[in-house]
Symmetry: D2
């Protein structure tokens, strides 16, 4: 049994005008995702601007997410930090608070060796009893874990899932081939959604679910029905929107997209800035086109 299947939805972390986390708004945005049929909720991901939050803010968001979801779907909490000690701290906090699993990306300032990365995961895992999803996203975290290293991480008992966000479909082919059908890997690159499902991904980790949950769900349903033609058609309906939100940065793009759809979405934390007017208009067009 896989813990997460289908679409794992990533809420944004909204801020008020003075750039403080707005917990109440966060909870209502999270509620929308649950009600739209997400296969899981993932607070404090890249979309949730985890690295831009202080320790106490991370804890407040973790508690708020778990309280709101209240067991209706599994919850995957982001707990990544530059230091091993702080990663352990947040991972244990999430476990105690009731998280189903935690997601960890090896963040970098100094590039880590493979040994340093392995030890980092191993030390965190040794302090936890819930599963860990190892998350590879060099574009944000600054470290590119090779498929071979990801395979090695799966030797750590509770590292049981991989989220691959490089956008290189060959990575997934390798993982599936090297690890067999039992491995649970997830796609974190939005424009790769169709190719990743075709390659056998167990699910799609996406912030797009904030804006187009039905299209996301329908794509996954077509895949489950083994209907490639329909999946392809559904994918191309959302492709340009997926490209756009990735190109503009998920926090700003989702915050704007929600606003366009009439949903309160708060403010961003500096240095992140809202979409410029031209990008905002483009997003209006893209959302009109898919609806």
């Amino acid at each position: 049994m896989k813990i997460f299947e289908g679409i794992i939805a990533y809420p944004i972390t909204p801020f008020d005008q003075s750039e403080k986390v707005d917990i109440s708004l966060f909870q209502s945005l999270t509620e929308r995702l649950v009600q739209a049929g997400a296969g899981g909720i993932a607070p404090l991901g890249s979309t949730g601007v985890l690295p831009y939050l202080q320790d106490d803010e991370k804890e407040a968001v973790t508690l708020a997410a778990l309280q709101q979801v209240n067991g209706r779907v599994p919850v995957l909490v982001g707990v990544s930090h530059l230091t091993t000690e702080r990663t352990i701290h947040h991972a244990r906090f999430a476990e105690k608070a009731g998280a189903t699993a935690v997601m960890i990306i090896p963040m970098s300032y100094w590039k880590l060796t493979e040994e340093e990365i392995f030890r980092h995961y191993d030390r965190v895992a040794s302090q936890l009893s819930i599963p860990i999803m190892a998350y590879n996203n060099p574009a944000t975290g600054g470290i590119d874990m090779s498929p071979a290293l990801l395979k090695r991480l799966l030797e750590i008992p509770n590292v049981t899932m991989i989220k691959e966000s490089t956008g290189d479909i060959q990575r997934m082919h390798y993982l599936r081939k090297a690890l067999g059908e039992e491995v649970t890997f997830y796609n974190g690159s939005n424009p790769l959604a169709l190719a990743a499902f075709a390659a056998g991904a167990s699910g799609w980790c996406t912030a797009a679910f904030n804006l187009i949950p039905e299209l996301n769900n329908q794509l996954y349903a077509a895949i489950r029905k083994n209907d490639l033609a329909q999946a392809q058609a559904l994918f191309y309906r959302q492709f340009e929107l997926l490209q756009f939100i990735v190109a503009k940065g998920l926090p700003a793009a989702i915050q704007a997209g929600l606003k366009i759809q009439g949903i309160e979405s708060g403010y961003l934390r500096s240095p992140l800035q809202e979409l410029n007017p031209a990008d905002y208009q483009r997003l209006v067009q893209l959302l009109n086109a898919v609806n």
Copy 2:
């Protein structure tokens, strides 16, 4: 009606021990591809080491291919050259000899501007009446044509097909989305075969057909039947072999693979060298595994 569909097979250009082109062996290798059910034959591609041949050798191979195929399937002749004048020369030669279409990659020593590339295609096209397949493969040709430039090339009347070999599935998504379902694009990156068909590619240009024609055909058949699960299973059976032949270079890998399968495949032309013993043994294993 699309000229080429399914698997377009790329024969190697075999040499004798003194590194001269072996036309008779080339014809028997081409015959195998036709009989194995190729949807088209493409002599003088990258696999056919086009740029390593002298003008008269290119002409001899063109004639030999057309004579051997003898109209049973369409023939796509590679005519690329660094200069526009020589490209026109070879394209016209192919047309006169009876080629169904020509394939052109913009070869580079000096990087060409988009304008230079467009004029190159435009001038060649103006001298031809048969269709042109624009071929993008920066790893060999040294120039990366953006999807936007490829789209622009399609404005030239007889540039009607695109072969994309970057291995980046997003290029194909863009082409399909920007050009509509009518555009005819082909995948030239072997490990992308499944993802490209999922994205809507009309065909797969591959040298793998020299070694595993049944698996290639079966994958295409599964796609035609809209059976993603079967296509995925078939793809993963050949995936490691596809990776291997690309990683080692198609001319050397195919030459060795044929030999392993008991088929005479001649010699390579220097500086290209045969697979080293370790790679050869790995290929033996991979071929055993798929058969």
Copy 3:
């Protein structure tokens, strides 16, 4: 008058065995740098593992550095943070504590637009009266500021210095040419030391000064005497060591190098790990070779 000239030395931040900052050891290591003739001291740089420290640790290190240096040479305090608010906080803290200037690298998780970067610097600068050194180092910070953007940052009143660490000498040529002889740019790429001085850099920001202060100073002296032949000879004496410490990561390499030289240097904070035995032996050889 330039605030910093010659060699600006970067102390490491040492930890005790339980990975807590060892302030007293930090002060003795800083004292060595002053006594060895550094042209400036730069605590909380990349070498000082700034991003791996908690807020209170950063403040303690800032105070300790300023107390120890005690006005003998100018002090450049690293105050970079992912958020604008925290950057302002640390910059103001450094100013109040008596820092001569602050150094800011635009750290990234989400890639920032040029506008976001400019606003980040501008907002921080508006809250400060001491000068800012804008620091470009995509290998650590994850953002590559173009020479044109760096030039634009200099329009902000108290952004008066640039530290370029890409290792691309052309960036420095551009800066010098675009900004005139009055611009103050510093080299932060150790193996570029000779080329950067030849290009007109005002100084060299380096952790190597922890290990080979005399060689660093002699290279700068030769440049001041306009003696290229001697500068070249001195550079090649230290080149392999410079390459090594960059390749292995400055915190681990300097910590090991000090130990090899019989100087207490503490421990690293995880996930950063000490040099492996082979690298340690190589460093022993390199240090023997230069002394």
Copy 4:
């Protein structure tokens, strides 16, 4: 004794309006370079569009260059070709015609392994008695030879010189350090001229000598006098022009620059096109600025 020192000048290969090689114009352009004080003449380099010429054209240019120079300075003839057999052919032709040395870049369509590259050089060298300059320029040839491979090539008896054109100054530092002061390496990256001389390059291989021979010679003279300050000033006078001609492609930029200076320079061979009007005007400004 080094064969080539100082500035090695690269003539363009001019064409007439029908894109045929204009041998007589080539000779007059070559004569200018000799009279301007070049330390050597290098026909059939990248600037001389070697790969765009047919075999008989290469031979005609070789003969014309040697006849024109007539022993006044050493001549370095480009003889690179994709195949080993044709490289040997042209190298032997150059030797018989009286070339001082030949320059060879490993051209690629299929990426070559290090072993294939080594054997290529070794086989060519075994057929020659004059020295070979191994030329590394991945931007044109498509293959990046590591410093370690370049070092290995120097084990082949008559491979005695290296021309490094990656623009990465660290390559030169490595070569000098790994090979000692006796190694003869040349810089082929124009904007690296100052840094390369500072690093100990024996000479500068440049097409800029067609346009600004005095500035090129003066820079070299300042280096010979160990006057870094003067070399730096002279370098910055020509830096923007050097950047420009590299960015626009040497054949088109030099052809235009000569025309601007009132010197007949013929036409280019397609697909290479002349500078567009905006670039042409920019070159007018740059040439005015240096004169």
